[in-house]
């Protein structure tokens, strides 16, 4: 792999890792398979691109993308908690609605950001950073976000969020409103996903209405890869694993492309990564036994009580 491909892969991997942290928050922490991710990734890209071409500050546009993602997450959360729609369906509903919303936001199917000021062109103006701006900014971003999420998960609110995903009855009996927790978790998750979408759009210099398709599966694949390779023995380790998984996923994709597959085959490859992870017993056990909340793990602990 040439340095150019490798650095490009790393850059993209670090940006996607922010999205993967978002997926981790819902999929693992809240135990909620949230499909709105496909829509909110594009939403972030659409908001940022539209604002940037309209002449707004790209940093502001990136912040607005995060806020848009928050709203999308709140929407999914309200559908689920207040109107009792199943997690899967409420995510799909948001995702579907967002497809139209994104086209509305952009006004067309794609927006080009070629030769436009972005957070990356801004960053490249700093001394010594020319040529490494994307890599350094993406790395700094994912480290900061990873650290914040790690600290958050160890706060009182963070503990309540994790317990909501683990045992609703228990945390309710400790006085926590699980509806608020779910809405909050979904909001943060989708905010991060949209934030990542705005980075990717600015890096590839265009936003496209279809760029979020399959994002949830890519996120799941990344979470699983990270958990298997790094482990989940503590929250800190898990957050590192998730970030690492996001980068590794892009590396695997790059390798697959080098083998001669077409970029259009990527979604299939991704789906197969997830399928293999889900059906191979060894990986399955490793991934799930550590979280302590699957059928297998439940069976084991039940066996301990006569």
């Amino acid at each position: 792999m040439s340095w150019q491909i490798l650095s490009g892969t790393l850059e993209l991997g670090l940006m996607y890792a922010v999205m993967v942290i978002g997926v981790y928050l819902t999929f693992r922490v809240l135990n909620y398979a949230d499909l709105s991710v496909d829509g909110s990734f594009t939403l972030g890209a659409a908001i940022a691109a539209t604002l940037i071409v309209s002449g707004y500050n790209p940093w502001l546009a990136t912040g607005a993308a995060f806020a848009g993602g928050l709203l999308a997450g709140i929407f999914t959360g309200v559908l689920h908690t207040k109107f009792k729609i199943t997690p899967l369906l409420s995510g799909i509903l948001t995702m579907t609605a967002l497809y139209s919303v994104n086209l509305r936001v952009m006004g067309k199917a794609n927006i080009s950001l070629l030769n436009t000021r972005t957070i990356f062109t801004d960053f490249a103006k700093l001394p010594f950073l020319e040529g490494y701006a994307v890599l350094v900014l993406s790395l700094a971003t994912v480290i900061i976000i990873g650290f914040l999420v790690y600290r958050f998960l160890l706060t009182e609110v963070g503990l309540a969020l994790r317990a909501t995903g683990d045992n609703e009855l228990m945390i309710q009996s400790q006085g926590v409103n699980i509806e608020v927790m779910k809405i909050m978790g979904l909001a943060i998750s989708n905010g991060l996903v949209a934030f990542a979408g705005s980075y990717v759009a600015q890096n590839q210099q265009f936003a496209d209405a279809g760029m979020g398709i399959g994002m949830i599966i890519a996120g799941l694949a990344s979470v699983i890869i990270g958990e298997v390779l790094i482990g989940t023995s503590s929250i800190g380790r898990t957050v590192v694993a998730v970030i690492f998984g996001g980068v590794m996923y892009r590396v695997i994709i790059a390798l697959v492309l080098q083998l001669g597959l077409k970029p259009t085959d990527l979604k299939m490859v991704t789906a197969f990564i997830v399928i293999i992870a889900l059906i191979s017993p060894g990986i399955r056990k490793k991934v799930f036994s550590l979280t302590g909340r699957t059928e297998a793990a439940k069976g084991e602990s039940h066996a301990e009580n006569p």
Binding site: R151, T155, R162, G175, S301, N305, P306
Partner: protein
């Protein structure tokens, strides 16, 4: 302390499976009362307990805790007053989280949760002291995941969590039923000592008639959604297991007679 007034709960209302689980139940518990509740399956014991905890809304009646009308409060708001231990040892703790994380969540029961570091070193010292009292060696395993504990250990931990911040009312739903006899005795002994130590108002559902009479100061028998026996003081100390069984039989005999009448 706890006042239950004419509480009625009907499950599957308006369907063919309609079941009156609580039929105008009234009950008053005084401060420091330890009430044991017995009755056959489907008598309404757990339903009564869940109605007090706020798991569901009731169809009629009112519930007061220390003069506060909590009838309309959701479960998480009642947690300010109530703590509970469930029958299933898996239900009382978050298994993917550590022992200290579970304990700290219980320590903040009913309080606003903030964006500050959840566990302080002071918390840890308190947890170690309290865990030592359980005598299960858990004090050296603060950062272990709860999923690594046995059912008995988890139930003991849940009991500790329930009393870490003294509740106004402790609800125990057959909390020793899923444990082996030895562990059950130990957890029961713990229950007795924590309830006595803090003079907790306690409501304990049990299937064990011996426990029903030997623990606490008052015994209630339920049948078909009603309280059919409420004894305390001398009447209770004079009661034997045989006596209770007889009452049990009488109640179910009545049921049989009713059924016969229905079929005739």
């Amino acid at each position: 302390m706890l006042k239950i007034r004419n509480v009625t709960k009907i499950f599957n209302k308006g369907t063919i499976n309609e079941k009156v689980a609580l039929d105008g139940v009234s009950l008053e518990l005084n401060e420091g009362d330890f009430v044991t509740v017995i009755g056959s399956n489907g008598a309404g014991k757990s339903t009564l307990l869940n109605a007090v905890a706020g798991n569901f809304s009731i169809d009629a009646g009112e519930i007061f805790i220390e003069g506060n009308n909590v009838t309309a409060l959701p479960q998480h708001k009642r947690a300010e007053f109530i703590s509970r231990v469930f029958q299933d040892p898996m239900l009382g703790t978050a298994s993917s989280m550590t022992i200290e994380e579970n304990l700290v969540m219980a320590r903040r029961r009913g309080h606003r949760r903030r964006l500050r570091k959840a566990i302080t070193s002071r918390d840890r010292t308190i947890f170690m002291e309290e865990l030592k009292k359980l005598g299960l060696g858990l004090e050296s395993r603060l950062t272990n995941r709860v999923s690594l504990l046995s059912g008995g250990q988890r139930q003991a931990l849940t009991l500790l969590m329930a009393t870490l911040q003294t509740p106004k009312l402790l609800l125990l739903d057959e909390h020793t039923a899923a444990l082996d006899p030895k562990t059950a005795d130990k957890v029961l002994e713990l229950t007795r000592s924590v309830a006595e130590e803090s003079r907790l108002t306690t409501f304990m559902v049990t299937h064990n008639l011996e426990h029903a009479l030997s623990i606490g100061n008052r015994t209630i028998m339920m049948h078909e959604g009603r309280i059919i026996l409420d004894i305390s003081g001398d009447k209770r100390s004079g009661m034997t297991m045989e006596g209770l069984l007889e009452m049990f039989g009488k109640a179910s005999g009545k049921l049989l007679a009713n059924d016969k009448m229905l079929l005739a």
